[in-house]
């Protein structure tokens, strides 16, 4: 195990102490079968961060979690609510840990770019997208992040390097290598990151993205969130690898398997990959073992236990998620882990953590309230933005 970096505040030992305890707790809970297999401690980058940045990571996790819980509540209860969602709760530590290692503000030609998936809200919030405007977009409002054109599966905000949800499985990874190619060509030290699920492994694009990134030594990071399922199938139906990271290693790409429930473990792996990319060392692959709590997808009018709602998937013919599996993963909740770690490290105390959570809840409530008041779109604006200038003709109008 490599030497730890201590930040001089005297917290180092306590932090390491916690890591040992957390490891034990995992073992005690009997996760050997389903829990993440991590590569062990990668580095102590996270322990070096300022208290502010550490608190921000917890805050981000909480913002994602409460945004999502609020959304689920609305779907179940509010007849005016219109937004659908692909749920991210359970996976918050992945987006948060990765984005914490990136450059998220500054001029567009200096920030790092993130390509997201059909499950974008966590990535978006972690990268710095404004929650209010994102929520308005999801609710199809004209003042939404993308003017009401996008909706959940297609949100984007290049201003913070959030290049967009990509609802198609596969193409985004290849497109992201193109951004990395542009960085290398123009001598920039920016990094392109793509998130993808275990479902992306089987796409032909997986090979394309990794092989070209490797051959051209691109500043590209593939973050594979292995939440065990792609829609209604376990990943063992589509991949021969227990660790999909092994597939990346076959290309000669440095790959890490990390515990996706532990934001600091994710951060450590991301930091290592980002440093490598900026230094011209080429691509990296990170497989985060994680789990999604809710259903694949949800929509307004949902009823608990029914399709598109929460829990068991009735369409799941070939395989489905056992109740016990869901409960087992909930024992290693990313919110709890981050919170306990920071308390253990002395960054926060329990009342401080509670206050932070209350703050976040208030912010989320405000974002939903703001979004719900936003104006609807003007019908004829659908003809704009096809090309950079002008509108296309409304051919159907008599």
């Amino acid at each position: 195990m490599s030497a730890t970096h201590e930040d001089g505040s005297g917290e180092g030992l306590t932090r390491r102490g916690f890591l040992r305890v957390a490891g034990l707790a995992g073992a005690v809970a009997g996760f050997s079968a389903t829990a993440a297999r991590a590569d062990g401690q990668i580095g102590y980058f996270a322990t070096d961060l300022s208290d502010d940045r550490l608190r921000d990571m917890l805050r981000t996790i909480l913002r994602i979690r409460w945004h999502e819980r609020t959304m689920a509540d609305r779907m179940l209860s509010d007849p005016q609510y219109r937004a659908y969602n692909h749920f991210y709760a359970g996976q918050e530590a992945v987006a948060t840990g990765v984005c914490a290692a990136l450059r998220n503000d500054g001029p567009f030609d200096q920030i790092d770019l993130v390509y997201s998936t059909h499950r974008p809200s966590g990535h978006a919030l972690a990268k710095g997208v404004d929650m209010k405007r994102m929520q308005a977009e999801m609710d199809f409002r004209s003042t939404g992040l993308n003017g009401g054109y996008a909706a959940e599966m297609h949100i984007s905000d290049p201003a913070v390097g959030f290049m967009g949800a990509d609802g198609m499985i596969g193409p985004g990874h290849v497109i992201a290598t193109g951004s990395a190619f542009a960085f290398r060509a123009r001598g920039s030290d920016q990094v392109a990151v793509v998130f993808g699920g275990d479902g992306t492994y089987a796409t032909p694009h997986f090979h394309s993205a990794l092989n070209n990134a490797r051959m051209l030594q691109l500043p590209f990071i593939y973050v594979l969130e292995n939440n065990l399922y792609h829609q209604y199938a376990h990943y063992s139906y589509s991949s021969p690898h227990t660790d999909i990271a092994d597939a990346a290693r076959a290309y000669g790409i440095p790959a890490r398997v990390v515990d996706g429930q532990d934001v600091f473990a994710v951060y450590n792996a991301a930091k290592e990959a980002v440093d490598r990319a900026r230094a011209g060392g080429g691509p990296s692959f990170i497989e985060a073992k994680t789990y999604r709590y809710y259903n694949h997808w949800g929509a307004p009018g949902a009823e608990v236990g029914k399709l598109g709602a929460f829990g068991y998937d009735p369409l799941a013919i070939t395989s489905f998620r056992p109740e016990r599996e869901v409960r087992a993963w909930m024992q290693r909740d990313p919110v709890d882990i981050a919170r306990k770690t920071l308390i253990d490290w002395g960054v926060l105390d329990a009342p401080g953590a509670d206050a932070l959570e209350a703050e976040v809840k208030a912010e989320v409530a405000e974002a939903f309230a703001w979004a719900a008041e936003q104006p609807l779109c003007k019908p004829e604006d659908g003809l704009l933005h096809v090309f950079a200038e002008g509108a296309v003709l409304p051919r159907q109008i008599a």
């Binding site: 909706a151 198609m168 779109c377 409304p394 159907q396 008599a398």
Partner: protein
């Protein structure tokens, strides 16, 4: 004869063909080949025929289409159901392989294959990337594939039988918006031909032509116009390749007015071909198209619904012509 949903009617055809031919295979991705219908047995192809013949793959629609082609070439009847999110993925395979192989081999290739392609773009909220109604034109332009687009459960079942029995590759477009449409559908197998349009209603003042997901609005518009005294002939294309020119031309020769309606983009939608064929063959008639504008469908229901040609738009357009 039972009232059945579209989805049930289609799977009933597939089930019957798979029972009759133990070599036939079905490849799906996320839409399990399962359907239930009031008073009818549940159909589940996967449990009935087993996972060697009915396979659920990883996310690789190009493999699904390619595998079906390879199975066909090896002499097995084969079909796949491509979800709308992946409908563009197998384009090259269908355009440059499935559609050309019979001709390129001088007639030697065995191609008893069906590509069921799910289409969206009819429902507000889905937006841009998750809308793919445009593939109707894409698969209609290329040769060597019979591209069909049923609009009723009866046709859907009969055309599925015909497609599975056809020696030619069939692109079977499946407008997802019609999935739960129901009507009386015979329980036994029957065929609806892969080369005939359907005259849904006869009339003398104007010919309305539509297809697939657009038919409910076309029929609704015809009913409204009829109520106002207009004599409307309604044609459901049903087959995009090879388009049934004769039925179209005969109708327009009679009515001298053609209004062709597309749910796909205006430029080079099937309606362009309808107008062009009739304009070449009928002199002195009036021609008009309405379609989705040349813009991706936006997410906002307000924008989307305004852009989609619905019954009200069709009625308004028809009135300017008669």
């Amino acid at each position: 004869m039972t009232v059945k949903t579209w989805m049930y009617s289609v799977l009933e055809a597939v089930q019957a063909e798979m029972r009759a031919d133990p070599a036939m295979v079905w490849i799906f991705e996320l839409t399990p080949p399962v359907a239930s219908n009031a008073g009818m047995p549940v159909i589940n192809l996967e449990t009935e025929f087993g996972r060697k013949r009915v396979v659920n793959t990883g996310i690789d629609e190009n493999w699904m289409a390619s595998a079906v082609l390879g199975a066909g070439l090896a002499g097995s009847r084969a079909a796949t159901y491509i979800p709308y999110q992946g409908a563009g993925m197998p384009f090259q395979l269908i355009q440059n392989h499935a559609g050309k192989l019979r001709h390129m081999t001088g007639g030697k290739a065995s191609l008893p294959i069906v590509f069921v392609m799910e289409m969206t773009g009819q429902t507000p909220g889905f937006a841009g990337q998750h809308s793919d109604y445009e593939i109707d034109s894409t698969y209609m332009h290329i040769p060597g594939v019979r591209t069909v687009i049923p609009s009723t459960p009866y046709d859907a079942k009969g055309m599925m039988h015909a497609a599975l029995r056809s020696p030619d590759p069939v692109v079977y477009l499946y407008p997802a918006g019609l999935r739960m449409l129901s009507e009386e559908v015979p329980d036994e197998p029957y065929e609806v031909p892969l080369d005939k349009a359907a005259v849904r209603q006869e009339g003398t003042d104007i010919t309305l032509v539509g297809s697939g997901g657009g038919m409910p609005d076309v029929l609704e518009a015809a009913a409204q116009l009829g109520a106002e005294g207009m004599s409307v002939e309604v044609i459901d294309l049903r087959v995009l390749k090879q388009m049934d020119t004769e039925t179209l031309v005969a109708s327009v020769a009679k009515t001298k007015r053609l209004l062709a309606v597309d749910q796909t983009y205006y430029t080079l939608g099937p309606a362009a071909e309808v107008v062009a064929r009739c304009a070449e063959n009928v002199e002195g008639a009036r021609f008009r198209r309405i379609a989705f504008p040349d813009a991706p469908p936006p997410a906002s229901p307000e924008m989307f619904k305004w852009m989609r040609p619905d019954a009200a738009r069709i009625v308004a357009a028809a009135k300017t012509m008669v």
